[in-house]
Symmetry: C2
Subunit: 243 residues, 2 copies
């Protein structure tokens, strides 16, 4: 085998957008909107997971979706079929969302909701006794990418990553920042575990190396397996945010 | 369904590195080295594909590998087991390689080969009658990412993308630039086609929309299925580059 040579390449500096993100997060907390930043590789199942989640929870929570893609409207059309307000964001080639782009998206969503005369009914259900004309839960489906989205704080209330079984259980070692910034890792496509060399135990060890606090929930968004634990996590977080 | 709202977000400007890439490509052509830029999502099978390819071709071509990752040396250790020279590049958080980073990697690889007293034997096999102490084929395994690597010309002789079946056949619609810049798309993990809603016909249609010239080869890097067509493509390209 011999020596392994490792070269540290010079790193470009990304413009900090932390202050803008903190401001946006504070506004969202004030208006009682839980914004969840959903990140993953391309094809890990973000849209399928969100569609099923919306179908399960849309009678419990006022939900809307910001759907970010470099191009196309494939995912927004899928989400739109669930009946919740959804706006497609095109990043114009950009590989991530930052706080400024997220704010543009939220403004566009608010305008869309007003124009379509959609009335959030949080006041009727009075989850926390606080009437509001704002959404309770907005999913921000980030660009499919395990790298760049993790580097830019969007201003979201929480971050989750979806890792699918076919991608392999070594991903937290190779994309460490993504797993460091996440509050929750959904391990999707567990229905195909028999066909891949993927160990949930190894995955958990690799995640914990990077982020001992991260919750890990195995799911299959197409069959529904494990989804209840994820719904419970989500509802708890929304209520805690609005408390 | 109603109207679908689509918002075009403002695009940041990436620094052009086209001139540096063209210069590097010209040098590589002069020294008879075919540099292949290998791109994919995380977990699509870049390293497995390269390992098997090296095992199949290392008695026909002098091969070396530049292994780029944000962090870790998992992939370089795997490649090292094939016995060919391999240098691990750490991008320090960067989501892609540009021409300058690639040049740093090639310089480090050349130094590593010299220090390890590895002697390329192109002259002995005389593929094109031209004795050389340079590698004939260098794989540049880019960062696992379907977005940013496509935006930066590395100076490589050719670009390929590996798309794996579990990612879905709609990826060319959502990550168009990746498929526009590729000469070849390897569709990997075709052994699990029965378990996923993936159509090779739809994939081909979606690729052709973006890039009518792209060659598409279905493979399974773990079982070896379809790999001969890929080896033939690769050997042809190396010979043409060195002619």
């Amino acid at each position: 085998m011999g020596e392994l040579r490792i070269i540290e390449l010079k790193q470009s500096v990304f413009e900090a957008n932390d202050r803008a993100a903190d401001e946006l997060r504070e506004e969202l907390r004030h208006q009682g909107t839980f914004l969840l930043n959903v990140m993953s590789s391309p094809g890990a199942g973000k849209t399928t997971t969100l569609s099923r989640t919306i179908q399960a929870l849309s009678d419990k929570l006022d939900i809307a979706v910001l759907e970010a893609d470099i191009d196309s409207d494939v995912d927004a059309r899928t989400i739109q079929q669930t009946g919740v307000p959804c706006v497609q964001l095109h990043t114009g080639g950009m590989c991530h969302l930052d706080a400024g782009m997220t704010r543009q998206g939220l403004d566009a969503l608010r305008e869309f909701i007003r124009e379509q005369s959609i009335t959030p009914h949080a006041d009727e259900r009075a989850i926390d006794g606080d009437a509001s004309d704002e959404m309770e839960l907005i999913f921000l489906e980030n660009v499919g990418n395990l790298v760049c989205p993790a580097e830019f704080d969007t201003g979201a209330s929480a971050n989750i990553a979806i890792l699918s079984v076919p991608e392999g259980d070594d991903k937290p070692l190779k994309y460490p920042l993504m797993f460091e910034v996440c509050d929750l890792v959904l391990v999707n496509k567990i229905d195909v575990l028999p066909y891949f060399d993927f160990s949930l135990e190894r995955l958990e060890q690799n995640v914990k190396l990077r982020n001992p606090e991260a919750r890990i929930i195995p799911i299959c968004a197409t069959t529904g397996q494990g989804m209840d634990a994820w719904y419970d996590w989500l509802i708890d977080r929304v209520h805690a945010w609005r408390a």
